[in-house]
Amino acid sequence: MHSIFARLNNSTSLLSSCLMGLLFAISLTTFLFNEEAHGQIVPASVKVLDARLPRQRYRTQEAVFTQFNVTADLTPLFHWNTKQVFVYLQAEYNNSKGVQNEVVVWDRIVRRKSDAVIRTRAMSKYSIRDLTRSFKKIPGAHFTLKYNIMPYVGVLTSGDIARTSELVTFPAAQRAVS
C-alpha cells in the first residue's frame, strides 16, 4: 500500500470480492419473491389445414392453427431483479403413436411492468405439425399458458399461469386456401 499502484491493486482486489458478494446476494433474493401470476385462456378458434410440405410437391401435412383469448396479469412477476418475462402458450397432446408432444403456439416478451397486463387474441405464431402428418386420430390437446422470468442476475424461474379445463378438440382438415 506504499505507492499509488499498490493501493489501486489491493483495493480493486477487495472491490471485485465485494461486487461478487453483492451480485450473489441479489441473485438469492429471487427466491424471496413467490407471487403468482393469474390469467385465463379461452379457445376462440381451432382450424386444421392441409398444408403443402416444403420441397415435396405432391405430399401434404396437416397443420393446426389456433386462436385464443388470453388475459393475464403479470405485474406481480416484476421485481427488482426481473429483466423481462417470456410468456408462451403451449399445446400438449399425445399423437397416434403415443408420443407426448409439447409445442409452443404463441409467445410474447414483456419488457416493462407497464406492459404486463395482457389482453389479446393470441393467433398462433407457430402452427402445430406432427411427424405422422395427420391429426385425424388425435383427440385433442390441452393448452397451457406459461412464463419464464429472465433476471438481471441469477437463475431463470418459471411457472404456469393458466390451463384449459377441457380438451381442445381438433376438427377435420380443411383444404388450404391458395
Binding site: 500500500m1 493501493r7 483495493s11 477487495l14 472491490l15 461486487l19 446476494a25 427488482w80 438481471y152
Partner: protein, 93 residues
C-alpha cells in the same frame, strides 16, 4: 523535472498511512456494499444499488489514491548520519 513527475506518480505514504488506508478500504467497501444492497432492496431498484455502490467507490478512490498529507503524518525517523570524523574515531578505538 522527471524526478518530480516520478515522485508524483509513485505517491509514497508512510507506514501509519498504509495501515489507515487498509482499514479505511475494507470498512468503507463492505459497508457500502451492505448499505447499497439494503437501499436497492427497499426501493426495488438495481439502479439504486449499483449507483450508490459506484458513487461510494469513486469517493473512496478519491480519498485513498492520492498521497494526502494525513497519510504522511508519521514519517520514519532515521538515525543521524555518520560523519567521517566519527568513523575514524570508531576505527582508532
Amino acid at each position: 523535472m522527471s524526478n518530480v513527475i516520478n515522485e508524483l506518480l509513485e505517491g509514497k505514504i508512510d507506514f501509519e498511512g498504509q495501515r489507515l488506508v487498509e482499514t479505511l478500504v475494507s470498512w468503507v467497501m463492505i459497508i457500502a456494499a451492505v448499505i447499497s444492497f439494503i437501499a436497492g432492496f427497499a426501493l426495488q431498484s438495481l439502479q439504486v444499488t449499483f449507483g450508490l455502490f459506484a458513487a461510494s467507490i469513486v469517493a473512496l478512490a478519491f480519498v485513498i489514491i492520492p498521497p494526502w498529507p494525513m497519510f504522511n503524518a508519521n514519517p520514519v525517523k532515521w538515525l543521524p548520519a555518520h560523519t567521517e570524523a566519527q568513523d575514524t574515531k570508531a576505527k582508532a578505538s
